[in-house]
Amino acid sequence: MSVPEQTYETATSRLEEIIRRLDSGEAELRETLALCKEGRGLVEFCAAELDAVGQGLEELRLDELVARLEAGAGRPGDAP
């Protein structure tokens, strides 16, 4: 099993958890600062995810993709 990668869902649910903890007022200074830092990272991740689907629709055709892939497979050493 690979390390579970961050998704929008995991990021937002962790963010909610952090805000709940901060709202509780139980976190001392160092934890508060650490949570704020982690939360800022999550906010940036979520914003980037939203940006990725907010830059205008990109439409591709499967038949063209497949043709391109098959052409690419024909040229050895062309792998990225």
């Binding site: 963010l15 600062l33 939360g39 979520c46 907010g54 629709l57």
Partner: protein, 451 residues
Amino acid sequence: MTEQAARPDGIEGSTLPGPFPVGAYAKKLQEELRKRARLQLVGEAWNVKRSKARVYFELRDGDGALPCAMWNDAWERGRIPEGAFVDGAQVVVAGGPDYYPGSRTSSPGFSFDVSALRIAGEGDLLAQVDRLRRKLDAEGLLEPQRRLPRAALPRTIGVVTGESGKARDDVLAGLARRGWEGRLVWAFAPVQDRHAAGAITRALQDLAAVAPDGAAGTQMGTGGGVEVIVVARGGGSLADLLAFCDETLCRTVALLPVPVIASVGHHTDRTLIDDVAAVACSTPTHAAEAAVPLHCAEARVAVGRSAQRLADHGRRAVLARARHLAQLSRAPAQAVAKQRARLHQLMREMRASARRRGLAETERELRAAAAGLERRAAVARGANVAARRAKLDALGSALTAHDPERIVARGYAVVDDGAGGVLTTAAQARAAGSVRLFFADADVRARIEDP
């Protein structure tokens, strides 16, 4: 042991002839039944069983049923396709009634003797679909798609649909409603007839193949692949929609590692792909919305709100502590003021005492001592209490305007005695001996070398 000797009298009072031996009667019954007209019957085959010599089944419909038997050689002449003759199959049989008279050691039985059998072609489409559904269900294939995790915010969506259908516009409308503007991979396939099934199956496999982190996805330049697939088609007759009941297609969907959202036909049509897909929707628009569970514009607002709340929390946390520090800083100044008042009182008392004794020298010494005490008091309360307080107040207001962590990052550090008690003076630090310094990244322990 003759039959004559064994035959008893009849039932007293009965006018019916006999008694006759049963075996003779059974044989007569067989002859009579075999004289009946041979004909063709139609119905569903159930309880199919095979023996070495014959195939047994029951032919049923809503009004009745008949036990049937077919010799194996007749069965083989029929060339029935493998797997077609299963429980529930619609069949036409030719033959006539027969009776097996049995014997002393074997049971008798009535059956319809089938000399020829044909699977009833297209037959009842709904029944066919139902049978396939039960079969897939029995194999557990209605579940795997529903267990697949679905991304709240897929970056790439695959759509299998007809190139010229209305479904295409409906999918776009659904995505627009979600405010989603990611990457769309169109897999156009015929969605009309039975030949469509193969094309749709290939499209699904190709879409899933450009998905995972493999070379295909990378060459696509996406970094990730298709995260969810929408299969959309408008309404039509069941015969038209039969492509979406194709066994191979449905098995492909069931085992596809990418979730499939199906919207085939109108909501009254129930095609098999609806049962094996992760989600079945009534319209292509709904299917598109189901593919992107998140409303992007609302999500942006929510993320902005979270960012604001984090900033507020950070600021409040540092502000509260800055106020506390400012309060603590006032405490030593108040102590010094008290000491100074006491000092002046002592001086007055000493002066009075000196006057009483008339010793000017003593007074001078005392003055010197008092001056020394004043100096030490000044040292004790710090170089400049007022200036320090002003600085703390400035710090407090600076903190309200800045991100908390950057303040610490700029070079400030919070000092405590290692157990949570904040230290604010050199004297406290000296008394504590060892302290903890909180920097932006972590804390360090330090020892006070000043005696």
